[in-house]
Amino acid sequence: MTNLSVNIAGLTFKNPVTTASGTFGYGDEFGDFMDLGRIGGVFVKAVTGSNREGNAYPRMAETASGMLNSVGLQNKGVDHFIKEIYPRIKDFDTHIIVNVSGSTLEEYVEVASRINELDKIPAIELNISCPNVKQGGMAFGTVPAMSTEVTRAVRDVYKKVLMVKLSPNVTSIIEIAKAVVDGGADVLTLVNTLLGMAIDAERRRPILSTITGGLSGPAIKPIALRMVWQVHNAVNVPVIGLGGIMNATDAIEFLLAGSSAIQVGTANFIDPAISVKIVEGIEAYMQKHGITDVNELIGGLRTE
């Protein structure tokens, strides 16, 4: 029997495959394509203190093996989430984790404490790394002292598993990771998108309304893998890795580099059933290599 389940900060995931915030809606949009019960967890779209319309369009640009987005945290706010969305998704047979976003420390704290009341949400993922909002967002995730501060403030009000999602747009991911752990994070998620830009040479204009946006997809995988590996070797909390995972092989690479679980992001757009296929692919790999427990893969990179 192969064991696929992983324990992350006391929370058991039936397998290490989850889906990334902002790329999986609230999960129910995937009902036609796959059985949510087959994956370890769903990180739902960012929730902020109140309604946000996000950025103007165009919000998307395709790039080589990737895409830029500048959605800008469009969502209807935490009240709406609690009243309208939570009841609809709370009984899914998988962990539902809320991506908590904001522009100010107070907003993060408010949203986190509201989500804390929801029985069926076992964890939040604090998004201090969104490159698409003018204030706050990424700033909290690029200055170590601010990272510690916002994490600590949320830690004070949030009693369940606190995950913090890091920005790759930094000189030293290790420094930020340590700052966030100092603030009381139970788990680190990395990476969010890299700040990029696309230009339409014919029209001589930026493609995105916001000029710059967040780069995701296979293009960023080497950078994400490197950061997971660095952080895994530098801190003592579990890491959830993501960035360009398109198939089971990619997912296994992240496990080997030290991810206790992985998130599938942009790949969901290309194949909405890919997360289940990744679960199956990991299982097949384990069988082929005679591995009975997926935990053997985590951090199992051989570097001697």
């Binding site: 902002g22 790329t23 949009e29 998307m60 895409m67 997809g217 757009f269 290309i270």
Partner: protein, 259 residues
């Protein structure tokens, strides 16, 4: 009524070049076609094109439940569509469908369809649908030039057809909105359906508004997912930013907050 979305490998049964820039791709499904409505679209995976990372959206041009196939009308724009133009009979194409909302069923019989360029794509399906509901629409379609005028006999089966070409080589000379149909103070229509370049849709919407005619447009937008989860494809409406791939692509122009 919820229409179930599905991911399928469809098989190319024919790929017919209409002219240098347009072709018709007929795709047959391995299972009975899902229920589909005019205005809905498909998201196509373009394999083997190094520069095409995301899927490409195309309106359903025709749905033939007897042949169990759909037809896309595609204009070659960049790498993705160029690749599709080379597809051969028997090759597979991975498609997510049907996506988006649809044109509403009109409450009137006096209906005008207006299309330009590859924006004509959904109008054939819509014409058939209207006929099934005993409506014979007036159809006005604009092309660049005579060489690109195509499928006219097909449209003619479903309604009265008028043509413009930008260079006057066939039909009336000029843009669609310059057509004599629009040169009246009181257009004999209670409903306009429109699909084409942004500028054309804006112009038609303006006429419709002035004459107080109900008008629906099918919008394009840059899409990453096509099924509502990425929030990349929004358009500003009276209900805030709505998703073109779920709340659209068809919108009543009354609801749009156009720049």
């Amino acid at each position: 009524m919820e229409i179930k979305k599905t991911v399928q490998d469809l098989t190319v049964v024919s790929n017919i070049s209409l002219n240098k820039r347009h072709f018709l791709l007929e795709l047959v499904a391995p299972e009975p076609l899902p229920m589909m409505l005019p205005g809905q679209f498909v998201q196509v995976l373009v394999k083997d094109s190094p520069t095409t990372f995301l899927r490409r959206p195309f309106s359903i041009h025709q749905a033939d439940h007897r042949r169990n196939s759909i037809i896309l009308l595609v204009q070659i724009k960049g790498e993705g569509t160029r690749h599709l133009s080379h597809l051969r009979e028997g090759e597979k194409l991975n498609v997510i469908y049907p996506l988006g909302n649809s044109f509403s069923l009109p409450t009137t019989k006096k209906v005008l369809l207006v299309g330009g360029g590859c924006g004509v794509a959904p109008l054939l399906f819509l014409s058939q649908f209207l006929n099934q509901n005993s409506i014979r629409p007036t159809i006005l379609v604009g092309f660049r030039t005579k060489e690109e005028v195509s499928e006219i006999e097909t449209y003619a089966k479903y309604g009265e057809i008028f043509i413009t070409t930008d260079d006057g080589t066939e039909g009336e000379h000029g843009l669609v909105v310059d057509h004599s149909i629009f040169q009246k103070d009181h257009l004999p229509f209670d409903k306009i359906y429109c699909c084409g370049p942004d500028a054309m849709m804006h112009a038609v919407a303006r006429i419709a508004k002035m004459q107080e005619i109900d008008c629906e447009v099918s919008l394009e937008n840059t899409m990453a997912c096509g099924f509502g989860v990425c929030l990349c494809c929004i358009t500003p409406t009276d209900r805030g930013n709505e998703r073109v791939c779920v709340e659209g692509p068809v919108f009543n122009t009354k609801r749009l907050k156009w720049k």
